[in-house]
């Protein structure tokens, strides 16, 4: 499916689809954050004029075919291995801009080692980490980021500490590594959040151009299908339940950790869906 024609009927064009975003119609579920993040990413690439210099690495997960939507050179990586693939690309093409686009299952479960080590080496690329607290593609199973008490297809009673451990905070973890330069948590649940995300992406690409080290942007996102909610409910649920565990905001800027208050674990029952 391609070539979406929007009639302008002589009206002035005030907003256009980014040229780095292809004409292909996306497969994501209605209201899913993936599409919004794609748009922000490609819009920034347009703004910075780096379409011809950027190489993306697609993950395994719902966004596995993101290269169909991004009008740039891309490589698809095995589940979890995106930062290793990106390392290979960036090391042989140091003057190109490289980013990975990964879900929480991809980055925080099977790919933990690759993630931590790429950040620790200070690989000069951008990691986009979509945290929707669930495995979307395989049908809504528990992710390492699933909240305590959260009902998923593999935690029908809600995630329990005793059996499944705590939600993992990869972003805070990698912020402690000296190789990382800019670590931030953003979200896409409302227009203001999207605008903040765009600023973050812009910053990260600029840091990469200046060879500053690893930048990681966690995007707290939704999975209306996996969460079994409509898009509005999903975004409301996200704000209420995801933010206490994954609060938006910068964690490390220009290589310096931002001091944060201790985050308390939410009650298990509060996050049950």
């Amino acid at each position: 499916m391609s070539d979406i024609q929007v009639p302008t009927n002589g009206m002035e064009v005030v907003w256009e689809k980014p040229k780095s975003l292809s004409e292909t119609r996306m497969h994501y579920c209605p209201g899913c954050g993936h599409g919004v993040v794609h748009k922000v990413l490609m819009e920034t690439i347009d703004d910075l004029g780096i379409q011809d210099k950027t190489i993306g690495v697609a993950p395994v997960g719902c966004s596995v075919i993101s290269y169909n939507y991004m009008n740039i050179d891309m490589q698809e990586a095995a589940h979890g291995r995106a930062t290793a693939v990106a390392t290979g690309i960036k090391r042989v093409l140091p003057d190109r801009l490289v980013f990975t686009y990964q879900g929480d299952g991809d980055l925080a479960a099977i790919g933990t080692a690759e993630t931590i080590h790429a950040c620790n080496r200070g690989e000069n690329f951008l990691i986009i980490f979509i945290n929707n607290a669930i495995y979307g593609m395989t049908g809504g199973q528990m992710a390492p980021t699933s909240l305590l008490g959260m009902v998923t297809s593999t935690t029908p009673e809600g995630r329990q500490v005793e059996t499944q451990g705590f939600p993992i905070k990869i972003t805070e973890m990698v912020a402690t590594l000296p190789g990382t330069y800019y670590i931030t948590r953003q979200s896409v649940h409302n227009p203001t959040a999207v605008r903040h995300l765009k600023k973050a992406v812009e910053k990260a690409f600029k840091y990469q151009q200046d060879k500053k080290g690893t930048c990681l942007i966690e995007v707290v996102s939704n999975c209306p299908s996996g969460w079994k909610m409509n898009p509005l409910e999903a975004n409301q649920w996200l704000e209420k339940n995801m933010f206490p565990m994954f609060p938006p905001g910068d964690i490390k800027v220009e290589g310096k950790l931002i001091e944060k208050k201790q985050i308390t674990m939410p009650e298990q029952k509060e996050t049950k869906i």
């Binding site: 075919i65 009008n71 050179d73 990586a77 290793a84 693939v85 390392t87 690309i89 042989v92």
Partner: protein, 360 residues
């Protein structure tokens, strides 16, 4: 200018990689091949190569995927347990049709095993290893000279067919020191253009995508059909082997790598006892020299396979022989190197059994 050096097999591989214009090496140390990353970390880096010791073999092979996809001549090496970890990435690389060079300095297994030489990874190397229907081009050196030579050949074949090439060798060849001649080789003349590489999309072309994902099964089948057509082409053009004393042999031994060298001694010992033994040494383990085995089956009383495993390549020899003559086997496992004397003894028993059958 060509140059003569006295070197370990592993060092010769590393030196050849630099001379072959390898752009990037990503690896993880494991005995008995760690000299490669050590040599490259010194010489390779000094001479402009990207050489990285990374967190695991899983990461290393995926870095090869990224680098090869970005158009680089990329290489990694490992030994048995490390190769097992790389199999996921190798399957992806084979499907995405990325040229790269791999080397397995085989040690005794299964499991963590021993660091002594073995040929126990034959099945893994030539019959897949990772998931799906794919083949690597597999080359088996039998000397330090060939360890080096196959690096150039490996890169060239990888580029020619856009297919990963594996050099399958063992701990003894990796560690032994021999004379090695480095020929004149201009990498520039050997590196083909790679218009498919992901180097950043210029305005005059559509995006390059490197992937092994094909969600529709008919599309996936078409990719597989194309891969299989490529493999048939490789089978038609890239079979390599060496024959010794096969013209009037009663029995022909089949052995590759280190065991083939021991079998040369077996030929000499056999001569002293008055029996005529030949040797067919497969150099390419994939594509396998089935045709020459089939041809030789018409003229000999039997084949005798010698391996440092429980009998893996023997299956391919049997396929080539296709029941025409008996096939005997002698193997040692777990890192034990067979001696020429014990091979000869077993070979004599095999010949006796053939003679008995002929009498009946």
């Amino acid at each position: 200018m060509s140059e003569i050096r006295l070197m370990k097999g592993n060092e010769a591989v590393a030196e050849a990689a630099i001379r072959a214009g390898c752009d990037a090496y990503f690896g993880y140390p494991i005995t008995p091949q760690s000299e490669i990353i050590e040599y490259l970390s010194d010489q390779g880096r000094k001479r402009g190569m990207i050489v990285m010791q990374v967190e695991s073999e899983v990461a290393a092979i995926n870095m090869i995927y990224g680098a090869a996809g970005a158009g680089a001549r990329a290489m990694t090496t490992s030994s048995s347990p490390g190769m097992s970890l790389m199999q996921e990435g190798i399957s992806y690389i084979a499907c995405a049709e990325l040229p790269c060079l791999l080397m397995n300095v085989n040690r005794g297994g299964p499991g963590l095993g021993t660091i002594q030489p073995s040929q126990g990874d034959y099945f893994q190397s030539v019959k897949g290893g990772g998931h799906g229907d794919y083949h690597l081009i597999v080359l088996a050196p039998a000397s330090v000279q060939e360890m080096a030579d196959f690096v150039y050949l490996g890169f060239d074949l990888a580029d020619k067919y856009r297919n990963p090439v594996l050099i399958l060798t063992d701990g003894a060849l990796g560690q032994m020191m021999e004379k090695v001649i480095f020929p004149e080789y201009d990498p520039k003349a050997h590196k083909p253009p790679k218009p498919w590489a992901t180097v950043g999309k210029s305005s005059n072309r559509s995006p390059n995508v490197i992937t092994s994902l094909h969600l529709h099964s008919d599309e996936m089948e078409n990719i597989n059909i194309r891969l299989q057509e490529k493999y048939r082409k490789i089978e038609a053009n890239e079979v390599r082997y060496e024959l010794m004393n096969t013209e009037d042999a009663d029995v022909i031994m089949v052995a590759y790598g280190l065991t083939a060298r021991i079998c040369q001694r077996v030929i000499e010992l056999a001569k002293q006892t008055g029996i005529k033994i030949g040797l067919m040494r497969p150099i390419s383990l994939y594509p396998y020299p089935f045709d020459i085995i089939a041809k030789l089956s018409e003229q000999v009383g039997g084949f005798f396979v010698v391996e440092m495993n429980a009998g893996q390549m023997i299956e391919d020899v049997r396929l080539g022989v296709n029941g025409k003559v008996p096939v005997g086997f002698y193997g040692r496992m777990g890192g034990v190197i067979p001696t020429a004397e014990e091979i000869l003894h077993s070979l004599q028993l095999f010949m006796k059994s053939i003679a008995m059958k002929e009498k009946v």
